[in-house]
Amino acid sequence: MIGVELVKLARRPRTWAAIGLLCLLPAVVAVFLATTRISPPPGQGAAFLSAVLQSGSLYPAAALALVLPIFLPIAVAVVAGDAVAGESAQGTLRYLLVRPVRRTALLVAKLVAVVVFVVGAVLAVAGTSYVVGVALFGAGDPVAVVRALPEVTGDDGGVAGTSPGGQQPASGPGGSQVGSSDAASSGAAGAQSGGQVGADTGDSTAAADPEAARERAQSSVSSLSGEALSPTDLAARLLGAMGYVVVSMLGVAAIALFLSTLTASSLGATLGALAALITSQVLVSLDAAASVTPYLPTRYWLAWIDFFRDPIFLRDITAGLWLQAGYVVVLMLAAWANFTTKDVTS
């Protein structure tokens, strides 16, 4: 059944359209950056955007930062929200079930197909953005890459004013910095970081979210050490970041898939999942909701940036993995309980 679901996924034009669009956004941004050579001040705009001018081989990381807040969750929610509800609305669900396909097997196959889609989408984004980045900005020599990052930070450290500036990522930012970057991780995910590419907002006028995002991005970039990042090291960090982004998206997929078993409207399931994410973003940036913040699905979304710290800062990454695992397990159990006992009347 898993094979059948994968064939369905692959033969669906929408799948490729979604992946194409996901790859297109970073490419468009790259073209603008490459033609104008106007980089956003480090820390402003999506993470890594200022660093890629020096080395295109970092562009996959910048591309992840671009698609993670909005595009990727939407694509995942569309595919996962459609998984069961789409079959239901089309009427094909009843024919699958009387074939017979056991309901549990169908749900597992759907989940696997969604996971494959997420992995494929992230790989496609990283792959195309690597090609685009290297083509437009040059591969940069691995040493140059690493040297470039602190340089940029150094240039702009004073300008940004907030200057987390620490060369020691874990200890440097200190308590307050950790706190604000925590809030930032979801603030940026909250959909603003893509929109504020190139936006010239002062600290005072910036809304809480962009500011937080900026701090987070800046701290992540500026905290890179000056030691050499070998190509394998860079590749490993990128893979880690991609893996973490995939896991973050699994939480979205689980929400959408669960809702998909509740309704015969794919749109309803998709929008429901997005509504849950937006709610989570809002609450994460709300101090008054601090008591629930650690359990919100988007809380650790930006923790993948920690893969580019030296040494890799694992606390938030680990917390994020556990949190997403919890969401996936609980929601998939709920989806299973609902789907296996419900009347299929569509």
Partner: protein, 329 residues
């Protein structure tokens, strides 16, 4: 109820039952979509499940297939309880439920291939799978269909495609919900011939329809459902039994009326309906011949299925007629 019992007795005597339900009830809220139904479908039968729209036919079909769970009552299909062991019986059942469905962006052939591949893992060989798909496409008259996506199919073609899907595993039992919906008269006849052919080869056919003529033309047994209740279940021949009246066609109806007197119950042009029990001569046919009244035709009057059904059922639940006869809206 008594009709149902009679059917059960007559059919269990000769055949095993492939579908049997006991006091089957499905409630949605307070409304009973299926209400206390005892259904009996004998092996080898062509069973017509007849009822107006909204009378619970589709809910019944869905319960038989384990798609919808009963509120109360028991279901046995092919000797096994449903839904508890439905996964064991479904591989032997071909089904169409409430119209065909397919992935609109794929061709009919690809759709069938996917459906086939979703099935029980008996035979993973690619070539045999392709052969199976071609075979059922041929059977339903879609053998020459090209690579157009199903989106562009007519309703009739989709219906044929759905039927092809139901035939994929050479099922022992076909459960078909309104299978000729959307077909032209030619297509309806083709499907009917196909079902009779399959039935002759041993497949039991359970078919639901709101079309009397379809069931009358195809089925050996009939169950009539009205507002969720099974109001009649019997062999079609028994339902369409003689009324005890004679149909007499004569070029000289005046003479016939004079001869038969009060026995003429109705007169319609040259055709007389003669009821020998209400008086008049006991053997009207012989009487007419002896008196020299010319006869063109002489036949037993049989009940039509329509008369029986109309007498047993109310208006369909999609009717918006108020009891007084005026339209509600």
């Amino acid at each position: 109820m008594s009709a149902g019992d009679a059917a059960q007795r007559s059919s269990t005597r000769q055949h095993r039952l492939v579908i049997e339900t006991r006091r089957l009830t499905k409630r949605y809220g307070t409304r009973a979509a299926v209400d206390d139904v005892d259904l009996h479908v004998a092996e080898g039968a062509r069973y017509g499940f007849l009822g107006p729209n909204g009378s619970g036919k589709t809910t019944m079909v869905r319960m038989l297939l384990g798609l919808v769970y009963a509120t109360r009552g028991e279901i046995e299909v092919l000797g096994r309880p449903v839904p508890a062991r439905v996964a064991e019986v479904l591989p032997e059942i071909g089904a169409m439920v409430e119209g065909p469905a397919a992935y609109p962006h794929l061709s009919g052939r690809t759709n069938l291939g996917l459906l086939d591949a979703s099935g029980p893992r008996r035979d993973r060989d690619g070539r045999r799978r392709r052969d199976r798909v071609e075979e059922v496409l041929d059977r339903v008259g879609l053998g020459a269909v090209d690579r157009r996506p199903v989106r562009t199919y007519s309703l009739g073609m989709r219906q044929r495609l759905g039927l092809a899907g139901a035939l994929l595993d050479r099922p022992r039992l076909l459960i078909l919900d309104e299978p000729t919906n959307g077909l032209d008269p030619h297509g309806i006849r083709e499907v009917r011939d196909l079902l009779i052919e399959l039935n002759a080869a041993g497949t039991t056919v359970f078919l639901s329809s709101h079309l009397l003529a379809e069931i009358e033309a195809l089925c050996t047994d009939v169950g009539v459902v009205d507002r969720g209740r099974l109001v009649l279940e019997d062999a079609l021949d028994a339902v369409r039994g003689p009324t005890g009246r004679l149909l007499v066609r004569t070029p000289d109806p005046e003479a016939a009326v004079r001869v038969l007197g009060r026995a003429v119950a109705e007169r319609d042009g040259e055709t007389l309906v003669v009821d020998a029990t209400t008086g008049g001569p006991p053997a009207p046919a012989r009487h007419l011949v002896e008196r020299g009244v010319p006869l063109d035709g002489l036949a037993e009057q049989r009940r039509s299925l329509e008369d029986v059904v109309v007498a047993l059922t109310g208006p369909g639940s999609d009717s918006a007629r108020t009891p007084a006869g005026g339209l509600r809206r």
